[in-house]
Structures are given as C-alpha cells and as structure tokens.
C-alpha cells in the first residue's frame, strides 16, 4: 500500500510546537530502546531453544516423548517470532512519531507568509497480526 500525504492547517504556538517535538523525539528514542531489549531477549531465548533441542538427542526418553517435546519446541518457536513483528511495529511507530516531529519542526520554521507545503505522510503498516498463531500459506 503506498504512503499518502495529509495536509494540515492547524494554528500552533511556537513554544507548544517545540515542546511537542521534544516529547515525540524522546518517545521515539524510548521505542528504539524497547526494540533493542526485545532483540536481545529473543536472541537469548533462541539460544536456549537450540540448546534444548540438542539435549533431546541425548535424552534417555522414548521416541514418543521426544516427539512431544519437539512439538512443544516447535510451538514455542512460532510464538517466539513475536519479536520480529514487534520490531516492525516499533519501527513503524518510530517513523510515524518522527514524521510528526519533523512536521512540527517544519511548521515552526515555515515562514508566516509562506503557505508552505508541509504535510504528514501516512505510512503503510506492514504488520496486521493481532496474535502469534501461525500464518497462512498459499502456493501459486
């Protein structure tokens, strides 16, 4: 879906706009940090799952038990992909927040007599999922 521009004409005091811009940029920084934490947690979880899967091979359990364990690990790996979707959503939100901050900055800088073409861009969000159940598969 292509991004689309939105034109706004809202009067805003310079002081308010600067404060809003600062708050938005801080929020973007916080989200960036959240993304880093999620990535680190996912990497550690993935390492643990790989280790657990290796241990399966030396377990003194029968094939049926090993198969049930593999099934559980498989299900956990599907859920673990939340980090990828969360990262994309976080990045999308950061872009939107920075877009609004840039828009405010442009409005602050815009000449009073200049009907500057300052607009917000609505970006397409690549993540529509609301849960981490496995997605559809379509072969063409």
């Amino acid at each position: 879906m292509p991004d689309e521009s939105v034109h706004l004409d809202v009067p805003l005091a310079v002081g308010e706009a600067v404060e809003l811009q600062d708050q938005l940029l801080e929020a973007a920084t916080d989200l960036d940090r959240l993304g880093g934490l999620l990535e680190d947690a996912a990497a550690q979880l993935m390492a643990r799952f790989a280790g657990a899967n290796s241990e399966l091979a030396v377990l003194g359990q029968g094939p049926a038990v090993q198969e049930r364990l593999r099934l559980e690990i498989s299900g956990a790996m599907t859920a673990l992909q939340f980090q990828d979707m969360a990262s994309q959503l976080i990045l999308h939100t950061i872009h939107r927040i920075r877009g609004v901050a840039d828009f405010l900055g442009a409005r602050i800088s815009a000449d009073e007599d200049d009907a500057a073409e300052v607009s917000l861009v609505r970006r397409h969000c690549p993540v529509a999922q609301r849960q981490v159940d496995a997605g559809s598969i379509e072969l063409f």
């Binding site: 879906m1 990535e39 996912a42 990497a43 993935m46 799952f49 790989a50 899967n53 498989s74 790996m77 599907t78 859920a79 673990l80 992909q81 939340f82 980090q83 990828d84 979707m85 990262s87 994309q88 690549p126 993540v127 529509a128 999922q129 981490v132 159940d133 496995a134 997605g135 559809s136 598969i137 379509e138 072969l139 063409f140």
Partner: protein, 120 residues
C-alpha cells in the same frame, strides 16, 4: 543436501529459519536483504530461496524479479515469508514470479513441509 537461501533483515528470524531448516537436513545460506542475497548468489547457487518482503536496500518482490530475470533461477522455487497478508501484496508477489506466499509467524513443521513440497 538441498541448499536454501534465507533472506531476512531480522537476525532472530534468520536464526529461527536456519535452525528449523538445518534441523531438517537442509544447508542454509543467510542474507540480510535482497541486495545481499544477489551478492551471495554470485559465488554459489541454491535450490530454493526463502525471502522476507520488507527489507532495506532491496525488498523481496524486487529480489524475485531480479532472480527470475536470470536463466539459472527461472524455475527455482522462491517463497516469500512476510508479515504482509493483503491480497494486493500477494498478487504482486505472484505477478513477480514467486512460488508461494507464507504469512508470519511460521510454524516450523509446516515450513519444512512446504519446502519439501516445492523442491524439485
């Protein structure tokens, strides 16, 4: 042993795909985006490409088009594994020459089944 090129800008996703496929006996080569995938394929060939859609430098659909333009990869299975689920995006992938469209998150067992199904 079939070789699979796994393309995704997410490190964790690449690790999960690699872990899943290597556990099932496949050789896995990783690339971080479409351009990296093309660079890696200059030095070696693969039997299947599994690519994300939204990536920096070159997205998945563009990668599919680039590969289909090469004689060597005109009939190689190319699967797109992505969070995108809209019909419009799927049709774009199909039109580009993709073999299939898989919506994330993937189930490891189903992923292996599909790959074994489309491999020649």
């Amino acid at each position: 042993m079939a070789a699979i090129l796994a393309v995704d800008d997410s490190t964790s996703l690449r690790q999960m795909v690699a872990f899943t496929l290597k556990s099932s006996g496949f050789e896995v080569i990783e690339a971080v985006d479409g351009q990296d995938a093309l660079d890696k394929l200059r030095d070696r060939s693969v039997d299947l490409v599994l690519t994300d859609q939204n990536m920096p430098r070159m997205d998945g659909i563009t990668l599919v088009k680039q590969l289909r333009a090469q004689a060597q990869y005109q009939s190689t299975p190319i699967l797109i594994l992505t969070t995108e689920s809209s019909d419009k995006m799927k049709q774009a992938g199909r039109a580009a020459g993709a073999t299939g469209w898989l919506v994330k998150p993937f189930d490891p067992r189903r992923l292996v089944e599909v790959i074994r199904k489309v491999l020649p």
